[in-house]
């Protein structure tokens, strides 16, 4: 029988036969089988696993993967108006340059000495977010806004020692699903309906329902459906009057022009860093933040890592480290508040780069820029016969609901027609918000030019005909 040729794999240096046998000899083993003596025979896999034949050469591997990925159509080739929690903003080149550096890309959990740069970069991200939010404590990022919102609600439950929270209905169905699953052991979730005219929280309903059992009221600004909530201070006041906390979820890219939620009474603020320098990546670019005031009763309820600044033994030198580490599950296992682990640090570093590039002027300008373009888009879309845009009487930031009831077409039909024009139309809301009829959520950002919007309008005119 012909002996199979052994290939030394580039990722496995000690598979060189001579090295392998020398090492076996040095450890006194006959073969690698010796190392698995504790694995009972009946548990051993007797055959090779049934996996595809590998591409051993880097070239053929690359060709193989590229061929699969070529079946994706990108938002560079197509004109994209989808948002709904993942937004197409411009990613400055420096953001990519920093997050592809091997030092950051491949570091993990080193000490505040050997990984000093990682600690400083994440402290700075929290610090810049702190300026944007006017809040003194910001966590090392968690997975995404879904997680950040769910954790914020559980934090509020622990802080108030209450087990019920109101959540505005104008959040995404996905986020509500996450909140319901994650909060189950600690907080029961009640839905707060919205005012059908404005798309904002129904204050009267809140006044009726809130009680001394309420831990928190969670709402978003701008809402998932795009309305800017103008009664933030009243919502917070109602919450506070009942001993509950006000939790606000924000799209942070709006905060150059919109008031930071602490100004209208928010106790906990959360959101997603994805707009700050992360490509969409099919939803892979998310990182959630949570922010509060610097009060012990708040700080001690974070499950997250919190990086703090401290002196070192050398004058004039900054050091960083974990604040109140004993809170975390790394330190105390099940005695923790909630679990902590690997999350989205690289995106936190990147968001810091983004904010440093934007500065106070850039962050203000991008807010205005987005509003100008989205308002222009709303204006143009509203001129199309049968199209109602925006659906809500309210000020919008970058997203808005478009209704097609009077066109006699479904959103799916319209989006299919747009696809033929190489346009990704807005997110179909018919399942999530059936009361809105044939409506879609459109997103316009700083990347959409007048011509892009013109193309959408022309294509829509044809689609609704």
């Amino acid at each position: 029988m012909k002996k199979e040729k052994h290939t030394v794999h580039p990722y496995i240096p000690n598979s060189v036969p001579a090295v392998k046998s020398q090492m076996l000899k040095e450890v006194g083993a006959k073969s690698v089988e010796d190392f698995f003596e504790d694995v009972p025979e009946k548990l051993r896999l007797k055959k090779d696993m049934n996996l595809p034949k590998p591409f051993l050469s880097e070239y053929s591997l690359k060709k193989h993967v590229e061929a699969i990925l070529s079946r994706n159509k990108t938002c560079q080739e197509y004109l994209n108006f989808l948002g709904a929690g993942c937004w197409q903003h411009y990613v400055p080149a420096v953001c990519d340059e920093v997050n592809q550096r091997g030092e950051f890309l491949t570091a993990y959990a080193g000490e505040p000495y050997d990984d000093h740069g990682r600690w400083q970069a994440l402290f700075e991200c929290a610090s810049m977010m702190g300026e944007l939010l006017n809040m003194d404590v910001v966590n090392v990022p968690t997975y995404d806004w879904l997680q950040a919102a769910a954790t914020s609600i559980r934090m509020a439950s622990r802080i108030t020692n209450r087990r019920e929270a109101f959540v505005s209905r104008t959040i995404s169905a996905d986020k509500l699903s996450k909140i319901r699953d994650y909060c189950k052991p600690e907080t029961s979730i009640k839905i707060l309906d919205y005012d059908s005219e404005s798309g904002q929280v129904d204050l009267n309903l809140l006044k009726d329902k809130i009680s001394s059992k309420t831990a928190a009221v969670y709402f978003e600004n701008p809402s998932y459906l795009g309305s800017i909530e103008i009664h933030g201070d009243e919502i917070s006041e109602i919450a506070h009057n009942h001993g509950a906390l006000s939790i606000v979820g924000v799209d942070p890219i709006s905060l150059g022009i919109l008031a930071p939620p602490i100004e209208y009474g928010a106790d906990i603020v959360c959101g997603d860093l994805q707009p700050f320098g992360m490509h969409m990546q099919f939803g892979g670019g998310h990182a959630g933040f949570i922010a509060t005031r610097d009060e012990e009763k708040y700080v001690m309820e974070y499950p997250s890592r919190l990086f703090g600044i401290a002196p070192t033994s050398v004058e004039g030198e900054y050091g960083f480290g974990d604040v109140a580490y004993e809170r975390t599950s790394f330190a105390v296992r099940e005695e923790c508040k909630e679990f902590i682990g690997t999350a989205a640090a690289l995106w936190g570093i990147t968001a810091g780069v983004y904010l440093a590039l934007m500065g106070p002027q850039g962050i203000q300008e991008i807010g205005e820029n987005i509003m100008q373009r989205s308002h222009y888009a709303m204006l143009q879309l509203s001129k199309i016969k049968g199209v109602k845009c925006p659906v809500f009487r309210s000020t919008h930031f970058k997203e808005f609901v478009v209704n097609f009831d009077d066109t006699g077409k479904t959103v799916a039909e319209i989006n299919n027609a747009l696809l033929k024009h190489k346009i990704f139309g807005g997110k179909d809301l018919t399942k999530e918000f059936p009361e809105l009829g044939n409506s879609a959520l459109y997103c316009v950002t700083e990347i959409h030019t007048k011509n892009d919007i013109g193309r959408l309008v022309d294509s829509l005119k044809e689609a609704v005909k």
Partner: protein
């Protein structure tokens, strides 16, 4: 000319590297701010657009308008870049160190070609809500990778949605909760069992999902204790969440019995495969009868760790539990890939959209570069490397490997420096900071320290014998220093970016500062 090669400071032969980490004394970014500088400009809004919409900011009700601009730093673009490149240089990435010191983290080589692929616009520039027809490529990658995991684990169906190992463990705890709810036993089955040498997240995620946690301690030889398990199970048992091999590197030879005991009590068994690197192709969760498992794609499957994410904790379950997996699940009808949300018994969403697609892509590419034989070789060489390191390190004064005397270990070893500490007064943590002076990581262990003065090392398949020999030489050197000049070790690091941190502010609410603004207020007393 003298022969320079004879006295090089390279790999311990004859001398260790004269490493010194970058020290830029880089200010906190706010200190670099210069009024008026700009890092990037925005695409200009066309006049027609501006004219059509007028003063949009005035449409924002007064109460909702930002009054004062945020105090972000103002920097030119090159200064931002320089700052972050310097900070990166002050970060010890796996790309340039012999990263066997971060045990349990599986710090293997992350192939550059996979990073290139993950940064193609065909993945970075796709929106998760695009029409399915336009994302068939990435859905194929995710679907096929889930098929690989089925084969590797022996379980029935996978979801790559959880965004890291801990979130995967949490999702599995949530599925266990849903299973007992569906059987009407949720109120009764409130206890989750784990072992002390399983990752803290097995305990912490179970607690987060609402369970009471029972932690088993090992028998005298360091093996998970079957008798202790038998004493712990009851009609209140919801399940078992454990690592195997455990963080000690010891494989539980009675794992089948463990699973049986839990099953007989009506519970489910969830396998934390954080340490799967040493058992790929050797054994799997299905063989031992597990109901659920999770893999860390950023560990076992080579995706880079990113300073702590983005990551993926792929979860797998049996056929009976498949209906509880998070939505959507990816399906294939023979010609098209499809996202199915119509799963009424699902636990719902765990993470936004479908998880971290670029990480799945890197794991897919890595698996496709190795195949079945390659994966098994990964395990075999990782284990060989670990046992080689073990053999050599045990010859170093003051280092021992408690438990399972004379036995082999799988993927890593939890060592103890107890003797060294007793002899010299040098603690494991201090030992590690001195090791860092030679350009490597060294990790003690999660708490509680059941093994006294612990140190957990995991060499993976990525490092050559020469690499391991260099790491061993560093350990030997630091041990020698501890015995000959303990003060040198206790005052380390000496070659690091910074010196010994005064950690007192971190636990003092009047001093701790988690943002620059808090620091300026509390310490610099600025208004």
């Amino acid at each position: 000319m003298k022969d320079i090669t004879k006295k090089r400071y390279t790999d311990g032969k004859p001398k260790l590297r004269r490493f010194h980490q970058a020290r830029w004394d880089e200010p906190v970014i706010f200190e670099l701010s210069r009024e008026g500088e700009r890092g990037i400009l925005l695409p200009e809004v066309e006049d027609e657009v501006k004219d059509a919409v007028g003063d949009v900011l005035s449409t924002i009700p007064e109460v909702m308008r930002r009054k004062k601009p945020p105090k972000l730093p103002e920097l030119c673009q090159s200064r931002v870049l320089r700052h972050y490149v310097r900070l990166s240089q002050e970060t010890l990435g796996t790309d340039f160190n012999i990263d066997v010191g971060q045990g349990t983290c599986t710090m293997k080589y992350s192939p550059k070609v996979n990073e290139q692929l993950a940064r193609m616009p065909q993945i970075t520039e796709i929106h998760p809500l695009q029409d399915e027809e336009t994302v068939q490529g990435i859905l194929e990658v995710m679907y096929k990778f889930e098929q690989f995991l089925k084969e590797i684990s022996g379980l029935y169906q996978f979801s790559v949605q959880p965004a890291a190992g801990s979130q995967g463990i949490y999702a599995n705890a949530s599925i266990i909760r849903a299973y007992h709810e569906a059987r009407g036993e949720a109120d009764q089955r409130r206890e989750m069992i784990t072992t002390i040498f399983s990752h803290p997240s097995d305990a912490a995620c179970a607690k987060t999902a609402g369970f009471k946690v029972i932690t088993l301690y090992p028998d005298e030889d360091g093996y998970p204790d079957l008798e202790a398990l038998k004493a712990a199970v009851s009609e209140r048992t919801a399940g078992l969440m454990i690592t195997n091999p455990e963080d000690t590197g010891i494989f539980n030879p009675k794992i089948v019995e463990f699973v049986q005991v839990i099953h007989e009590a009506g519970g489910l068994c969830s396998y934390d495969e954080a340490n799967a690197n040493g058992i790929l192709g050797i054994t799997n969760a299905g063989k031992a009868g597990f109901d659920l498992c999770h893999f860390n794609l950023h560990k076992t499957f080579s995706s880079p760790h990113g300073c702590g994410g983005p990551a993926v904790g792929a979860i797998g379950v049996t056929k009976e539990l498949a209906k509880f997996l998070p939505v959507p699940v990816i399906e294939f009808d023979g010609s098209k890939y499809h996202l199915n949300y119509d799963r009424p018994e699902s636990i719902g969403k765990i993470r936004a959209f479908y998880g971290v697609a670029p990480v799945v892509l890197k794991a897919y590419a890595w698996t496709m570069s190795l195949g079945a034989k390659g994966l098994k070789e990964v395990a075999e060489i990782a284990v060989l490397n670990n046992n080689y390191l073990l053999t050599k390190l045990l010859k170093i004064r003051g280092i021992s490997a408690p438990y399972a005397k004379g036995k082999r270990r799988i993927e890593q070893v939890r060592y103890s420096l107890e003797k060294l500490t007793r002899d010299t007064g040098v603690h494991s943590e201090e030992f590690g900071l001195r090791a860092a002076d030679f350009g490597v990581h060294y990790w003690t262990s999660h708490h509680p320290w059941v093994v006294p003065e612990p140190c957990t090392l995991e060499p993976t398949e990525s490092y050559s014998k020469a690499d391991l020999d260099e790491y061993i030489e560093i350990m030997r050197r630091v041990s020698n220093e501890a015995y000959s000049n303990p003060e040198l070790v206790k005052t380390a690091p000496h070659n690091s970016t910074i010196h010994k941190i005064d950690t007192t502010p971190f636990d003092d609410p009047s001093q701790w500062a988690m943002t620059w603004r808090a620091y300026r207020k509390k310490v610099a007393k600025e208004k």
